[in-house]
């Protein structure tokens, strides 16, 4: 049995290996992704984002447990930042996902950003596709808790949940407007702590300020993940958003947009690699750098010299 067949049957070892192949960009990665693509598109993707320590992993744990009880198969991609110095990473989201660790139909993969910005890892989208092809009904992606600019998730998930907590994130100004505008559902977690209602009020005020509100008004759900409170309500909100997307036709549009972005990104990567290999191949490049350093030539004409011949090909 090939690894692809194994993945399509939901074999844990094969899913895990294919994810490694894709993460490390091994030579067989592209062919593998090509053969599984036609088996993707059935899983519903939910993204969880928000500041560090807001309770994303704990929420994912509780929600997944509920979904398991409904007979759903769940894949989870949990992303933590990589160290800019060593390239290594401490991946600790599993510590808070203990209720679901031995559920038969749950597959959790911890990944590091490997230097990517935007809260995701480069391979996150492909990993989600692998879990989708492996038969998962729902794929949940937890972004790194950078808080300010993890916007990439909104391009990767069908429903994006922004998790906030009272105290640290009290000051709603500290969350970039862009994120607030794109979230499909707000969660105020740690409702057992003081300040939750105040935070809800300020989110509501911010939503009211929106002068051009879309047809979907993001609900604000109050949860206390550690106490398992508000989980049903959150799941209901996700379900409602899903229905809204489906009925309005936005789900298909969103997914198409996502694929458009992905194709462009892939082309860019490919072209950029091509350019780099061309540059490095002919030793002329180092000589050009010397010239620029000696102020004999400026960087812009240097770029002209490099790109012109490539454009003519």
């Amino acid at each position: 049995m090939t690894i692809i067949e194994g993945v399509l049957r939901g074999n844990v070892r094969d899913i895990a290996r294919l994810i490694t192949i894709v993460e490390n960009e091994l030579p067989e990665a592209t062919a593998a992704m090509q053969s599984i693509f036609s088996h993707t598109g059935t899983a519903y993707t939910i993204g969880f984002t928000g500041p560090p320590g807001a309770g994303k992993s704990t929420l994912v744990d509780k929600i997944t447990l509920q979904l398991c009880r409904q007979g759903k198969k769940i894949g989870i991609v949990a992303i933590d930042p990589s160290s800019p110095f060593s390239g290594g990473a401490l991946l600790g989201d599993r510590i808070r996902m203990r209720d679901i660790i031995t559920e038969q139909e749950v597959f959790i993969r911890s990944v590091s950003t490997r230097g990517s910005m935007g809260g995701l890892s480069r391979a996150a989208g492909d990993i989600a596709k692998i879990l989708d092809a492996a038969g998962k009904d729902v794929v949940i992606i937890e972004t790194v808790g950078v808080g300010q600019d993890e916007v990439d998730i909104f391009k990767t998930a069908d429903t994006s949940v922004l998790v906030l907590m009272p105290g640290a994130g009290d000051d709603i100004q500290s969350i970039k407007a862009g994120i607030m505008e794109i979230a499909d559902i707000f969660v105020v977690n740690k409702a057992d702590r003081e300040g939750a209602d105040g935070l809800i009020t300020s989110i509501r005020q911010m939503l009211d300020l929106n002068t051009a509100p879309g047809p979907w008004r993001p609900p604000i759900i109050k949860t206390s993940a550690t106490q398992n409170e508000g989980i049903e309500e959150l799941l209901k909100a996700v379900q409602e958003h899903r229905e809204f997307l489906t009925i309005s036709g936005s789900l298909a549009a969103r997914r198409k947009e996502r694929l458009r972005t992905e194709i462009i990104r892939l082309v860019e990567r490919r072209v950029s690699r091509l350019v780099q290999s061309q540059i490095k191949q002919n030793g002329r490049f180092e000589k050009l750098v010397e010239k620029v350093a000696a102020r004999e030539e400026d960087p812009y004409s240097c770029v002209e010299r490099i790109v012109k011949p490539l454009e003519q090909k």
Binding site: S83, L90, R94, T102, S112
Partner: protein, 132 residues
């Protein structure tokens, strides 16, 4: 391994003891050596550890234990790994383990045992040299 391949290690705490300071220190040292380290927290059963190690496709698994149950738990973990297709994972043990127990553990598939006070450098180097 390919040049872009990053070594993945899981640091796990089987058994009932409630101390993970040592495990965290080692986890950090492995990260600082450029590895991706999956840490799963305290009091994990062999089943939980093996399930996680397989899903995470780790190259190495470091079991840290202080409770004295290693003679039971370590062989159980290596046995489960063999049953489930994880026999290639480099399994190591650390913590309070009497010298006399080490040969038996090695027989059971634990490749190396690090006693208390082993420098993190020794452990990092062992992982580097032995993952394939």
């Amino acid at each position: 391994m390919g040049k872009d391949t990053i070594v993945r290690v899981m640091v796990a705490k089987p058994g009932l003891d409630g101390h993970d300071r040592g495990a965290k220190v080692i986890a950090r040292a492995l990260r600082d050596a450029g590895m991706e380290v999956i840490y799963t927290g305290l009091r994990q059963t062999p089943e939980q550890i093996v399930t996680a190690a397989l899903q995470e496709d780790v190259d190495a698994l470091l079991l840290s234990i202080l409770s004295g149950a290693h003679n039971h738990l370590f062989p159980r973990i290596t046995q489960l790994l063999r049953e489930k297709g994880g026999e290639n994972i480099l399994v190591m043990g650390g913590g309070v383990i009497p010298q006399d127990d080490i040969p038996g553990l090695k027989q059971a598939g634990i490749r190396e045992v690090f006693g208390p006070g082993t420098s993190t450098e020794v452990i990092v180097n062992f992982v580097k040299e032995n993952v394939t």
